[in-house]
Assembly symmetry: C2
Homo-oligomer: 740 residues x 2
């Protein structure tokens, strides 16, 4: 008996991470329509073919295809020809945008010894495209200003604001110096921005082997990680201010658009900046003296990391061709049968820094396969209720240029017709990684439940949850992994093409991909190649197929649902959690400053410091006032009530009332925007999600309030609480009206 009970317990427990029983409910569908939808999805799955992914990936990555290159245009045309061949209403939309490429790049150590950085990623054996040097963009950071500077070097770790605090405590000032930072800790564009704010005259960013080189695994071509010559290209345009073409902020960069002067563009860096390899960084860092860097600042180079300044003295000279180049967005449309003016949008960029097999082609080929399979459904007589629109964006790498210019050009239509934007980018072996509007958590969870993981005999949902549970750091996290049924979508910051849709236009958005087992350090280097990807990324394209199934289902359910499959309750609860985070943030900051000020007054920092080393004690800071969170608390309570009411009403809406719910959902999402945007950056209008002003890609939720608290602007914080509270209150009122 005992044995049987035990076996039963095992069975019950095992189902937790296994497939749930057949025919569970499907958000937005009646049971009958859900069954039809399932049949369509099976048919969809059956036409997905791995070999096509491989062939397309090989073809698209065969030559470097950055913005403005010949092969970039060829790829756009090839992609358009595919869409056309499948019957989509396809066009290539062209913009003209500012895109600097290097004319001169010099990094020299001129003291205490001489060294000239190579700044070259050489071909490696077994990588067929790494030798295409005549077409490769050299290693550089796009939208660095021109400059020729010489100065003592300071090592500033990741180069984020907190790192300058540490430098100050050590008596190191970067004014008039060249700063060397390492990749990581923030988006790269933050590094030259913060360095310039502190008076540095130049900035170098290197890839420390600890972060994506031999400190993580064997280096390419032996293993997947960055070798001593690998460097990370990338844009340093000040995207947290606005993405897109620097000369046409807020408007489409059409050929005849009114452009501002380059000198007035506020997203070009203030100081010259260049990325280098760790091979090139080693002589510079090894020669530094001054205080020893704190333990967390030390990388994996075989040296003692010092802060400087000097005696390493560096000459950094950069000059760019400030060209205007064409950007080619491919747009393919399949009109909806019932709601042609409701657009379900799907996109992935096609441009790369070099060959870009992983970034972005791994995601793009899955999108193409998905589009092909949907076209085949259409050939068999099926039509989506809502319009489906696929995009392959250009110029993402430079600053989300293709998507931003398109969204700005079509802003009015987009606001009127946009339902959702589903983005993808890189994709590789591993786990479902999903971010997006919290209204979509139930939809994503139900889809993830229905996709089998290619490596394990469970759903991708079960696998994702097993991972969370096994990685949980404490009992609380394990409980959450066990008991919280929905996927918690990561709030979206920036870093890919969803930004203009979500944060500028107010279209609900998602970012979907697989990853976590691919590993590697080929990001934005010449080694992001077909050979690298098919050795380390997703050798059998199993996760390409999983990705096509996932985003395909999302598109199909959004296009076919009786009522748009959004759930407002999840959103309301999540906003409640963000609010709680904010109150805690303020309370912790208050307590920390109180404690620190007490230590400052007691001279504890001076007393504890080693007199043989420079140590500058912090100074007392203004006490943190108590903030009036009441307006926000009331608004969130209102939101929670109305969201529940709405979800109940939408779920039981009779057919004739369903269109009204669709229209309401499209409208209310946009009520989370404010026309004047966030403080200091009007382009970013969404009041719940934004990339951090000092993190770049990293999200800040309820950003107006959160950043005011983080930056200790207490008057602003109170004003922002009121402002966001009004937005949420209006949203809740709108939801309430719609529910009735």
């Amino acid at each position: 008996m005992r044995r049987i009970v035990f076996a039963l317990a095992v069975f019950l427990a095992a189902t937790l991470f296994a497939q749930t029983p057949s025919e569970p409910s499907m958000l937005g569908f009646s049971p009958g329509n859900a069954a039809k939808e399932r049949a369509i999805e099976s048919q969809f799955d059956s036409s997905l073919k791995k070999d096509e992914l491989r062939d397309w990936l090989k073809r698209l990555s065969a030559r470097p295809h950055h913005l403005g290159s010949a092969y970039d245009k060829e790829n756009a045309e090839f992609i358009a020809s595919l869409f056309k061949s499948w019957g989509y209403d396809t066009n290539i939309e062209e913009f003209r945008v500012l895109f600097p490429t290097p004319k001169r790049r010099v990094v020299e150590l001129i003291a205490p010894e001489k060294f000239t950085a190579k700044l070259v990623e050489p071909p490696v054996p077994g990588d067929a495209t790494s030798g295409q040097q005549s077409e490769q963009l050299p290693t550089y950071n796009a939208y660095s200003i021109d400059g020729d500077v010489t100065g003592d070097l300071v090592y500033a770790n990741y180069g984020i604001p907190a790192d300058y605090e540490v430098l100050a405590r050590n008596g190191v000032d970067v004014k008039g110096k060249i700063v060397i930072t390492r990749y990581g800790g923030s988006w790269r564009g933050i590094k030259p921005k913060v360095a310039a704010e502190h008076g540095a005259i130049g900035c170098i960013i290197y890839s420390d082997p600890k972060d994506d080189g031999y400190g993580q695994g064997d280096v390419y071509p032996k293993g997947a990680y960055r070798n001593e010559n690998g460097a990370q290209r990338g844009s340093v345009m000040d995207m947290p201010v606005h993405p897109g073409d620097p000369l046409t902020p807020g408007i489409g960069a059409t050929v005849d658009a009114k452009r501002i002067d380059r000198k007035d563009a506020d997203v070009i860096t203030k100081i010259p900046v260049l990325p280098i390899s760790y091979g090139d960084a080693l002589p510079l860092l090894r020669a530094l003296a001054g205080p020893v860097a704190p333990p967390e600042w030390r990388g994996a180079l075989p040296i003692t990391y010092h802060l400087g300044p000097g005696p390493s003295r560096v000459h950094l000279a950069l000059e760019f061709n400030w060209n205007m180049v064409p950007a080619y967005d491919v747009i393919a449309r399949m009109a909806g049968s019932q709601y042609p003016d409701e657009w379900v949008m799907r996109g992935n960029h096609h441009d790369a820094w070099v060959n870009g097999a992983n970034d972005p082609l791994s995601g793009l080929v899955a999108e193409l396969e998905e589009a092909k399979a949907i076209a085949e459904l259409a050939k068999s007589g099926w039509r989506p209720k809502r319009t489906i629109q696929f995009a392959a964006w250009d110029g993402e790498e430079e600053g989300l240029i293709g998507s931003t210019e398109w969204a700005e050009t079509h802003a009015d239509e987009l606001r009127a017709k946009g339902v959702v934007y589903i983005n993808s980018d890189t994709n590789s072996r591993g786990f479902l990684d999903a971010g997006g509007s919290h209204t979509l958590e139930k939809l994503v969870t139900q889809v993830a439940r229905d996709i089998p993981d290619p490596e394990r005999n469970v759903s991708v949902l079960a696998r994702m949850r097993a991972r969370e549970a096994t990685l949980a750091k404490n009992a609380e996290e394990r409980k959450e992994a066990r008991e919280h049924e929905l996927i918690r979508l990561d709030a979206l910051g920036s870093g890919s093409d969803y930004t203009p849709f979500l944060q500028h236009t107010g279209i609900a958005a998602m970012n979907i991909g697989y990853g976590g087992e691919g590993g590697g350090g080929s990001y934005h280097s010449v080694y992001d190649s077909f050979d690298h990807y098919t050795r380390f990324g997703d050798p059998n394209f199993d996760y390409g197929i999983a990705q096509a199934k996932t985003t395909g289902r999302l598109v199909l359910r959004l296009a076919n649902a009786d009522v748009l499959p959004f759930e407002l309750t999840t959103f309301a609860d999540t906003v409640g959690r963000y609010m709680d985070e904010l109150t805690k943030l303020a309370d912790n900051e208050r307590r920390d400053i109180e404690d620190r000020n007490r230590l400052v007054r007691d001279r504890a920092y001076e007393i504890a410091a080693d007199p043989t080393r420079t140590f500058i004690s912090p100074i007392a800071e203004e006490a943190v006032p108590y903030l009036n969170f009441a307006p926000l608390q009331n608004a969130v309570a209102h939101l929670k009530r109305s969201a529940r009411e709405f979800d109940r009403a939408a779920a039981s809406a009779p057919a004739d009332r369903q269109p009204a719910f669709d229209r309401a959902l499209m409208r209310i999402e946009q009520s989370l925007l404010l026309p004047n945007g966030l403080p200091r950056r009007p382009w970013f209008r969404h009041q719940i999600y934004a990339p951090g002003f000092y993190t770049g890609y990293g999200v800040k939720t309820i950003p107006g309030v959160r950043e005011a608290i983080e930056q200790k602007q207490w008057t602003d914080a109170n004003a922002q609480i009121e402002s966001v509270a009004r937005v949420i209150d209006a949203y809740a009122a709108e939801v309430e009206r719609a529910a009735k």
Copy 2:
């Protein structure tokens, strides 16, 4: 007005870390006697001379002086001559002990390429003694067994039990392999012990540059840290079983002592083990393949750390001269005027691995200076009430041999007369670092309050507390640093000569030293020299003087007090804290195992694992039963009541009752021992403090219970709770009787 209030607030706050007002109370002294004691201490201070410390350090470190060497004997005689010259009743007590030295040391990489480890620390410029190669002990681990083994290499991180769990998860078995571990994470002797328990045939221990090489700071001779040739000598005798001569466990190793056979000695390693430098380790580690080591396992060598096994194949051959050598303890005594049969003992070892300027001479010269100054007090007519006894131990490095053999030889007298043992060892610039019996917290705090810090214009107590407050990691720790008035003495594990006194004999003990600003990686290498110490350790001997003042005051107050300055309340409260830790430990372990078992049953580990890598899922473990802590809880409650009663009574005891309190304090401390000792190691008798069986130096408080829980021996845990409860109960009853 406002301004004045603010200034006052600053003044009040500043006093927190500054000197407290004059003439505070002095534990164990009447106000009148406290004033006299203060005068004596001032006179004591005035005869301390830095130049003597420097001269003695130079003289004692002039040549290598390990156990059994010619200069070791010369040093003992020199030390004895000093004590004699100051008027102490001095003798050198000689023991004969087993001490292996290397005859053959070979570490070779034989595949996939050839490399022979140099195993040499060469002379360096600017270090006058580093070239004395004919007298230096080579780099080796004493009490490694002889052996000649060849096998594939496995990297096992620190080589502690948890590391073998990680290896098992990665499918790596060390059976029949040679294990390479890095220094750190535990005492070194744990590494070969645990490796042998898992079936390894040999063990190599290297110093990773992350831990005390260039990862910490510039290397010697440019900076203080371990260079690529530096290796850490050290004993691997299984000291958590028992320290001292391996052939005379539990008895003094006098010339005619009855010895066991070497093959029966249970503290010699089961497999051969040798320490190497990172220069020698690099080729071995670089050639490893197999899984990539987890992030926390990676050191600062410029390689990807792999686990193996192989293809690195290593030949390790070791042969030793198993010599019997003399050990010379110097003992110097000044008889007490009132309580000659109450001994206040003070000790520091004099032997070193090589020249040993820091370890142990920096502590020894401060002890000598202290003895000299006390002798000068005596010349002026003062006599201590209690007997003061100074010791300079031999053979500490090999396994606390000199102190252990002395304590075992004099066990009966020691139990009858020992009041306290105050140990010191290394000493350098920085902060007071104090460990010891919790009955002594008030005494140590009062002394620390009275010593000016040499670098900052505050007491060493204030400086220590400023450091704790500024390093506090969270609000709780900051509050503790602010509000807890007593120094929390670290509970003593092992690693220096207090062990035979405290844990074998039941004498209250302390370990006192300064450090934290010296830094460096000269530990147990030829570079622990006069030149190194006077550049990096304590260049002006200011902290040598601070140390002499501190331990001198401790000795003087203990020797002169009306009643022994012990406080039982602190001890009782601390035991209560340890008990709370144990209940939490069991609860956390229960919850963690429950959660983990659930994940095992759900197959979550398998589901989450990357199928392209070997991953062995853990198996379900026995559930943790609820333990019966009630006996311990009742005993601790009893202890707290009786301790408060005793302290009250002792503080107000009339002169004629004071001797009785002294005798009671000496007796009750010993009632914390059990004659049969701890499970698996009868030599360790103390039921509150022991070095961990699997940590070596690191302390385990209430060790019987704690280790049973940690090792998941639940029946033992319940039995040990009862056993310790009886000990504490008996102690409390004894205290209660004494208070009446």
